[in-house]
Symmetry: C3
Subunit: 400 residues, 3 copies
């Protein structure tokens, strides 16, 4: 007969709420397989409990910290200045303190130490011969090709006037005239170079505060027990917030001379890896120094930038142009804070239970397909229902 | 009889370690349902294996990168300056090179190109009439209301002196006198506007280093094979690190004229989406430009800031105040690095196995409630244990 | 007989594709256990559905936002300046507007308000007596010990010349002579202190744009309906983008006087917690203010930095050195955006199904080990297959 929804439903209700249904089980007294079965379960359980949940901390929720640093650079350096191009005049010696070399003086999670400056004094807007280094050699006949009027110069310091004039550096050579801030940096400037030993003795004080918003936890690297006469040392004093620049540089695999001359980008990574299920007060950052941009890099070496200072004198605007090379330090705050999270634990365990079925499959397969008495096992385990053939046949089935 | 813990326990031990228990199975020779059953299993399996694990990379752990950029802006621009307010004197033409328009010269993952400056020269602390634009019109009778003494002015440039004086811009009008840096910006200043075509020809060189701390991987967008005469082009040269400002602007849906005049905030998003299970060297960033603050925005359009330069002359402190409008670019480093992670894979599969039960439920339901011969099926599948009724009855049960 | 792979395989194929195998079930008409069973299932289901999936949003994928702020500080303050050391001359009064106190004028997600400046005018490189505060007292006999020639001074402002000279501040005392920028900051400088009431009236306008790259969503805190005459108020106007500095300070648990005098670091946390499965337009940030560095901190209190301005006069280079104390504000953008994610949902449910087995285990245990009629139940549920003993015995088994 056909299917009556009503009947189906009532049957369903009965099965669901009045009778408890459990699977019929065949027991096979076989110690070997029994133990194998339990062993498999044990392995799976151990894997979940020990590896996933415990070792891999599958029960924790993680967040990366965000933080801010207050940075103080201390130190003084001797500087020698000399007119780079026309080497007239002897070297002059100068002093650079923090206000001189920390440019810009205030940054967010970064600081810059100028180690070299190329300063061009008394620049005025006007026309002047380009520098020899620009290699804009011309002759009065073919100026339009080499010095296309009103076109920017390759170094984009100015525009071609279209004229071809004598070089100031070497009268015998004719170069394109440019309309720019004159004199050009390359043709007349003074070079200031910091004494490398002095730089090494600079110290930087890092005071960092990090927050794990997810857990509403704030940590500091400077605590009440911090001793301010210390110097950071990876092995002996890893918690000291005062770091010698020299110590940072020695750890870097790079050409130090080029680094101080051309500048470079150095990352100070503060790694906060914390387990907040245990005493969070124990969590201190570890420091790692890595060079992101070396001074002798093939592609655009070093780090430098230009900055101008204007002044007005007898009706004309003058500018002092400084090309500043130096060590750029960026503080990168990384790490992971882990804290117990019910969802993660739940998912880890729940999905683990799923794996338990493997044990059944394996043992079952042994008996059904491999074991010596598999026939007998199958007879015991399996019974057939012939739902399509003659009633009698199926009846007989049910009896077996 | 009651429950004896000892007995229960021993029974439990016996069941656990000496006999292997497996479920008794009823086999129904029904190709249709059998195939349906396998089909369902296949679908679930495919879903787990292909979609969750493979396509959605459920086997991977992800981390967003953190990075730093070295930024170099190149280009020169013609600038026209004219006295904004009292239009005396003809326009003057000037030159702005990097040192002039990149203010501040060094930033962290950001740079600023000044496109317009309103400069007020020779400001001195003192009293002066407020500018007409301030609309602080008064008459000598009711000064206290319009010019409340010692109160800050609405634009917070200074304090009211309480006096009502003639405007410098228009003698016929009386305005509140203010104690501030005089002359006020609005009443007497010079405007410098950059030639928009020149800005478009500026180029910015982005050299980025990103780190995936979780996988301890560092990547760069500039590699040994980078050609430095290239220009970035989304389609033809997406890996070129040198970008024309003009190319950035043309892609933005915004009023260019307003943008250059009032300034704006533009985001350069560098997206690093990497699969570290394959050659990480293949991972290059893609660039996206989006305007975060347009120049014609209803609410506080553009981007600008004020900066002052002090100088001392004949015993008085003077100041040059510059209101600097410009394009502010921020480099946002986003993306996702994925790498094989055993926990994630485990959880994905494990939870998948759980779904397998669906196949059983469906097929079982068919036979139990819908199939033509469900009665016979039920007889075969289900047997009843009358644990509360007469022994005989249950005995008979067990025989069936 | 031994195992024939061929046979095994064919048997496997047959089982797999031609017969549907389902577990043989024993039904126990016991309402109590039946209901207990369903109850357990219900609890587990509710736990998954309500707690994990719904409440804990296990169906969502989360990402932290990244953003940029355009910051505008407005306000003017009265400043009193007086020569700190030799208190000659009366106090002078000055005016500081944005250009004076916002240093640097443009930063990325941060701003600084100078509240105090110690300015040393007309510094020249040369030799001068150290300041009394340096406590470098010496006597002409033992200069080499106290003033080691060419060694940097403890405060690293300069180098010892090795000479012992009279102090400029107090003729009767002899101090080490130093080679540095003279006069030294501590021995002769002018102090400018901002009126604290005026600072409180400053306002900062925060215009933030955040992006959730994962969901490709961009949000702003300033919208068309924003009223620009508002002032932020946690309770009454939490969406207002204009914040009174005074309101920020009053909420901070710290010594305000010390804060304004020594400076400090204040975090403005913008928390964007959004559920993108609902109208994202409803998502507004909440603000939190916290002090990261107080002005009266035991370890290195306050925030300050030094900045120098050079100028040239009659052939000598002069410098104006400013030690700038102030309130450093950093904008921290945190939060979590959640959006439906099929993988997370899948994993949550899938692992949940695994837990369902608990219900079976419990109820089964009751009947097998605890229930009064457990014997009868076991007879009904369990049948034994003696796969190792005599054929007859096992035969009999199969019949039972």
């Amino acid at each position: 007969m056909g299917v009556s929804i009503k009947k189906v439903f009532s049957a369903f209700i009965f099965d669901t709420f009045y009778t408890y249904s459990t699977v019929k089980v065949v027991q096979v007294p076989n110690t070997f397989v029994a133990l194998l079965y339990r062993l498999l379960q044990l392995i799976i359980f151990a894997y979940i409990a020990l590896y996933i949940v415990w070792y891999k901390q599958g029960y924790q929720q993680f967040q990366e910290p965000r933080g801010t640093s207050i940075i103080k650079v201390k130190g003084i350096a001797k500087v020698t200045g000399n007119s780079t191009i026309s080497n007239v005049g002897t070297d002059s010696s100068h002093l650079w303190d923090t206000a001189e070399y920390q440019l810009p003086p205030l940054e967010n999670n970064a600081f810059f130490i100028a180690t070299r400056q190329t300063v061009t004094y008394n620049q005025v807007e006007g026309n002047c011969p380009s520098a020899l280094e620009d290699k804009l050699i011309c002759n009065t006949t073919s100026t339009n090709d080499t010095c296309p009027q009103d076109q920017p110069t390759p170094n984009t310091f100015g525009y071609f006037t279209g004229k071809c004039v004598d070089s100031v550096q070497n009268e015998s050579v004719s170069v394109c005239e440019i309309h720019a801030w004159c004199p050009e940096e390359l043709s007349k400037s003074t070079e200031y170079i910091m004494n490398s030993d002095d730089v090494a003795n600079f110290t930087v004080y890092l005071k960092t505060v990090v927050t794990f918003t997810l857990f509403n936890i704030t940590l500091r690297n400077v605590r009440d027990d911090t001793n301010f006469s210390c110097r950071y040392d990876k092995d002996n004093d890893p918690r000291c917030p005062i770091i010698r620049i020299g110590d940072i540089l020695t750890n870097l695999k790079t050409n130090k001379t080029a680094l101080l001359l051309e500048g470079g980008l150095i990352e100070i990574r503060q790694d906060w890896t914390c387990n907040f299920d245990f005493h969070q007060s124990r969590c201190y950052p570890t420091l790692e120094f890595s060079i992101l941009q070396s001074g002798d890099d093939k592609n655009s070496p070093g780090v430098n930038y230009r900055s101008g200072q204007k002044y007005h004198q007898n009706g004309t605007d003058y500018r002092i142009l400084s090309k500043i090379y130096g060590l750029r330090f960026v503080i990168a705050i990384s790490g992971n804070g882990g804290q117990f999270n019910i969802v993660n634990l739940f998912v880890a365990i729940g999905s683990g239970i799923g794996f338990m079925v493997i044990a059944d499959i394996v043992c079952d397969a042994i008996f059904t397909y491999i074991h010596k008495y598999r026939q007998r096992y199958r007879q015991g385990k399996f019974s057939t229902v012939e739902i399509s053939s003659s009633r009698l046949h199926s009846e007989e089935n049910l009896v077996r």
